[in-house]
């Protein structure tokens, strides 16, 4: 998945709005990875993240007809993806632990140096409400105002949840007292 030059993007958007399959594929190549990574971090499983990417890009041509923002298509896409992922998060049962296939687990183990040991497990063990804020704020770089808007909570609640998430992580990692 590679980035597209900005000058092409508006043409792609226009074409994708009309349902052009090639334009949709190009948008997927350009932004699919960012959407997938966000979804994965929110949901914790490749299966769920792929479902989110699938839904976002299948619904994209129609959604783009309401897209009027200039620039920052990826930011808009990620907000949409975050909402889809959060809806999924609310609906699903917690089944992460059985959904990782053996290959994925192996790749993760290989990719994880000792500095990551336990960190993903600790993140996954956080309650959904805390993990969502942690992912959106600390990893994806949203402001508390943006996190609050995405999650339908106040900025203050976002701050509190982030603090609780961090303290929860530190406790699980044995870094807190």
């Amino acid at each position: 998945m590679a980035s597209q030059p900005g000058t092409l993007q508006s043409d792609l958007v226009t074409s994708a709005q009309r349902g052009d399959a090639d334009a949709l594929a190009a948008l997927y190549q350009a932004h699919g990875e960012a959407v997938y990574r966000l979804a994965y971090r929110l949901l914790g499983t490749r299966e769920d993240a792929e479902d989110v990417v699938h839904d976002v890009f299948v619904g994209l041509p129609e959604a783009l007809r309401r897209y009027e923002e200039r620039g920052a298509l990826e930011s808009w896409l990620k907000r949409v993806a975050a909402r889809v992922a959060l809806m999924r998060l609310r609906q699903r049962d917690r089944r992460r632990e059985v959904s990782l296939d053996a290959g994925t687990e192996q790749r993760l183990r290989e990719a994880s140096s000792t500095e990551f040991t336990g960190l993903k497990e600790a993140v996954d063990a956080l309650p959904d409400g805390l993990r969502s804020v942690l992912v959106l704020k600390e990893i994806e770089g949203y402001s508390h105002a943006e996190v609050a808007a995405l999650l339908g909570i106040s900025e203050g609640a976002s701050r509190v949840r982030l603090t609780r998430a961090i303290r929860g992580l530190r406790r699980m990692l044995g870094e807190e007292r």
Binding site: D55, G59, E62, L119, I139, R170
Partner: protein, 369 residues
């Protein structure tokens, strides 16, 4: 030996680590960090944790994901996406833009009808009214009104002001265990005259645990209107300073210069003026400084959430329990039912700390300072 009274909360340190702390608190946090190894270490830990989180590996998606999408599209599958409206930032509700703009214009005309010689706005109609009894104005100050959680108070009953002297002990309770005294606050309301005009002198002083003496301020409020006529500041070193406001208050409606913020003087007087009852809710406008020589209106939201009998060093009192919120800061106050003075105040002072003030003595025989 350096004395570090309070460590910033995790939330504050997190914002600091993210460089998201507003300038003023940021300077205070930086000053604290300069002398606190523990907090410096925490900031470093927070940055390290964020770095590790951002580098957590993410498995590659399936190679056939795009073809799965294309197959779905070709097969007629359609998904209606949430939140793909024009802009995710326009979450203000159904008020049309034109109406909002008109309301804002009206509010601007009413609130800032003139600017002073330096181009700074004055409060015009509101000069000298520390609590803005804003039912009339509320209809026009739409964006401020929209931020009030409860019905706006009508004109407060200035006849309810009663004189007296109330002394509080401040204390910080950390982790639910360690209690540290934070000094003494004294609040008094006394009758007096200023230039042959009857006034209330509302005084708040605080003596910190480690300060050399009391500091605080007195507000000289015209009886009947509560318009601020004079403010006197007292400093810990024993000297004082004052400012008169003969015509208008362009700069300072200081409901706090001393004490502990908005919930000090402001609340103590406000609760004398406001008739409380079970489940009562109300918001009032207060003018607070947001920068040097710049003021802004904020709604102060209050909600009676229950009744409790409270035991404090001054005695046992039947109280209204009131939750309050101003500028994102929340506190709970216990208000004595008959006289409506503050018996106890509680506010979170950090992630694991509660900051309290409890009434230790009170008298209805005040003396002017």
């Amino acid at each position: 030996m350096k004395v570090i009274l309070l460590h910033p909360s995790w939330t504050i340190l997190r914002d600091y680590a993210d460089d998201a702390t507003p300038d003023s608190p940021k300077a205070r946090v930086a000053s604290h960090l300069a002398q606190c190894t523990r907090c410096r270490s925490r900031v470093a830990e927070l940055r390290s944790l964020q770095d590790r989180l951002q580098r957590l590996p993410v498995p590659e998606p399936s190679q056939n994901l795009l073809s799965r999408i294309q197959t779905s599209r070709a097969g007629g599958v359609r998904v209606i996406l949430p939140g793909s409206e024009r802009s995710s930032r326009s979450r203000r509700g159904p008020l049309p833009w034109a109406a909002a703009a008109l309301a804002a214009t009206v509010a601007a005309i009413l609130l800032w009808p003139e600017a002073n010689e330096r181009g700074e706005p004055s409060f015009g109609l509101l000069d000298g009214t520390p609590l803005l009894p804003a039912t009339l104005l509320a209809q026009q100050i739409s964006d401020t009104a929209a931020r009030a959680r409860y019905p706006l108070l009508g004109a407060v009953d200035v006849g309810r002001v009663t004189s007296g002297r109330w002394t509080y002990e401040g204390r910080m309770i950390e982790e639910g265990l360690d209690t540290t005294s934070q000094g003494v606050r004294v609040f008094s309301v006394a009758q007096a005259e200023l230039d042959r005009r009857p006034v209330w002198i509302v005084t708040t002083t605080t003596t910190g645990r480690y300060t050399r003496g009391p500091r605080g301020d007195s507000l000289f409020l015209e009886q009947g209107s509560l318009r601020l006529l004079r403010q006197v500041w007292y400093y810990a070193g024993g000297h004082a300073n004052s400012r008169d406001f003969p015509d208008s208050v362009r700069y300072s409606l200081s409901w706090r210069q001393a004490d502990m913020g908005w919930h000090g003087t402001l609340h103590r007087l406000l609760f004398q003026l406001t008739p409380l009852a079970a489940n009562w809710k109300g918001s009032a406008y207060v003018a607070l400084p947001v920068a040097r020589d710049r003021w802004k209106l904020f709604p102060l939201d209050q909600h009676v959430v229950g009744e409790e009998r409270v035991h404090v060093p001054a005695g046992t009192f039947d109280c209204w329990k009131v939750d309050t919120k101003l500028r994102g800061t929340e506190a709970t106050l216990w208000i004595e039912k008959r006289g409506q003075w503050v018996v106890k105040l509680s506010q979170r002072g950090g992630e694991d700390a509660v900051w309290e003030q409890v009434l230790t003595t009170h008298t209805n025989s005040p003396t002017a300072p």
